[in-house]
């Protein structure tokens, strides 16, 4: 069959397969908002509440959710963009109140028939932490929420301008649930993940880290992906199961939140500019002594 016809056929079949999977939908209401929850059912086993990224729901995310359910991980994905009529894009979830996600967590805990795990990526990891904190303050005491699985978390108030120290959002240092981090190696996050972990541990969180070689941020949900990223995505059901077992050893999320000095807030949206922005404090550049590709040596 010619390649173009094969692709056409696949493009028709993949959505059909997704439709035919054990996919269902229900609604969680918070204030005056109805949040659609897409569920991929599994007969037994853990339940995974997977928050979408700022870029919304992609076919690969839904396909992975189907795969997770087939591997015994019931997966729930709240469609936050539809609920709040948000356009997909960076910082699009800033408008979502953590209390709304806390309501979804309460719904997913249900009657505690299954252990629940929360999962998020990038900046949504902070929304997840804030929601857990909100949930801890409002829920009846239960440790059904076993922990957070987070891919390449972004926990900063804003992306630091080069040379500035990073400022973390207050909830990062005031979280006490077990956390399992997946950090792609091909990511700027690789170089500060140790600092992220130190910040998360300040509130009492037990933090595990798994580095993922050969992939970059969003490898499991992006529509453009490499062969290595496709292969890593295929391994995710088994990797997530193993991570859940690790989190289980810590007995679930404590009933009370860790103390917090400042109020919760969303990350700051940067102002886009065509102009160079002066640094706030002029300072001497650090040393730079590296080999160049042409075998010369640079010593700044």
């Amino acid at each position: 069959m010619p390649r173009i016809q094969t692709r056409l056929l696949l493009s028709l079949l993949i959505p059909l397969c997704l439709t035919l999977s054990t996919r269902a939908e229900h609604v969680v209401s918070y204030a005056d908002v109805d949040i659609p929850i897409i569920t991929f059912a599994a007969d037994q086993g853990p339940r995974l509440l997977w928050l979408p990224s700022e870029f919304g729901l992609s076919q690969r995310r839904l396909a992975l959710a189907t795969e997770l359910a087939a591997n015994g991980i019931e997966t729930w994905i709240p469609d936050l963009h539809s609920a709040w009529f948000l356009p997909a894009g960076r910082y699009s979830l800033n408008q979502v109140e953590p209390a709304a996600i806390a309501q979804v967590i309460t719904d997913a805990v249900g009657n505690r028939e299954r252990p629940l795990y929360l999962m998020a990526e990038g900046r949504t990891a902070m929304l997840a932490l804030q929601a857990v904190r909100q949930w801890q303050t409002t829920t009846t005491k239960t440790q059904s929420l076993r922990g957070l699985l987070a891919f390449h978390p972004r926990l900063f108030v804003r992306t630091p301008q080069g040379g500035e120290p990073a400022e973390y959002l207050p909830t990062a240092a005031a979280s006490n649930l077990p956390i399992y981090l997946f950090q792609p190696v091909d990511s700027a996050g690789t170089w500060h993940i140790a600092n992220d972990i130190r910040e998360l541990e300040k509130g009492g969180a037990a933090v595990f880290l798994q580095r993922l070689d050969g992939v970059s941020d969003g490898f499991h949900v992006r529509l453009d992906f490499t062969d290595a990223e496709r292969d890593m995505t295929r391994r995710l059901p088994a990797m997530l199961s193993a991570a859940m077992q690790q989190l289980d050893a810590y007995g679930g999320t404590p009933p009370d939140p860790a103390p917090m000095q400042h109020a919760m807030r969303p990350p700051e949206k940067p102002t886009s500019a065509r102009l160079l922005r002066p640094v706030k404090t002029t300072k001497q550049a650090p040393a730079l002594k590296l080999p160049a590709l042409d075998s010369s040596a640079i010593d700044l």
């Binding site: 040379g163 170089w191 065509r274 160079l276 640094v279 730079l288 160049a292 042409d294 010369s296 640079i298």
Partner: protein, 143 residues
């Protein structure tokens, strides 16, 4: 001088390369240097990348990722603009249009200040009989 931290797997880094190249060609004759620091990758990866997208400015290799922590780099690409005394004057993260008129107009005074100071140094060194120094001597190429 621009110090640009980047990687080949980072799409915005790759996106801004043509504008960096354009800026370099335009302002290098006036003294602008660009140092592109590749973080966490091998020379083979970089050579393969540059075969398709060659650049005129030096590419430095930091395979162990020793620079982001010391330089305060939290996103790729991040570019710092240093004056001739190596003071950090501007910082940008994310893909940026380096060839825009606004950017060039911002960099010109820095280059002019560097040229003035270099001329002053040259005059003093000539009077004292020593060799002139300059930014281009940062590049200590092997013979």
């Amino acid at each position: 001088m621009l110090v640009n931290f980047w990687t080949t797997w980072c799409p915005p880094c790759v996106e801004e390369i043509p504008s960096l190249q354009s800026l370099y060609r335009r302002l290098n004759p006036l003294g602008l240097e660009i140092l592109a620091v590749d973080v966490g990758e091998s020379e083979d990866t970089m050579r393969a990348f540059l075969r398709d997208k060659p650049v005129d400015f030096p590419v430095l290799m930091d395979p162990d990722g020793s620079t982001p922590g010391r330089w305060g780099i939290y996103a790729f690409p991040t570019t710092l603009v240093l004056d001739h005394q190596h003071q950090v004057r501007y910082a940008v993260f994310g893909a940026f249009d380096w060839a825009s008129t606004e950017v060039i107009d911002t960099l010109r005074p820095l280059l002019a200040a560097a040229a003035r100071d270099q001329a002053k140094d040259l005059s003093q060194e000539t009077q004292s009989g020593s060799m002139p120094s300059g930014i281009s001597q940062l590049l200590s190429r092997p013979k």
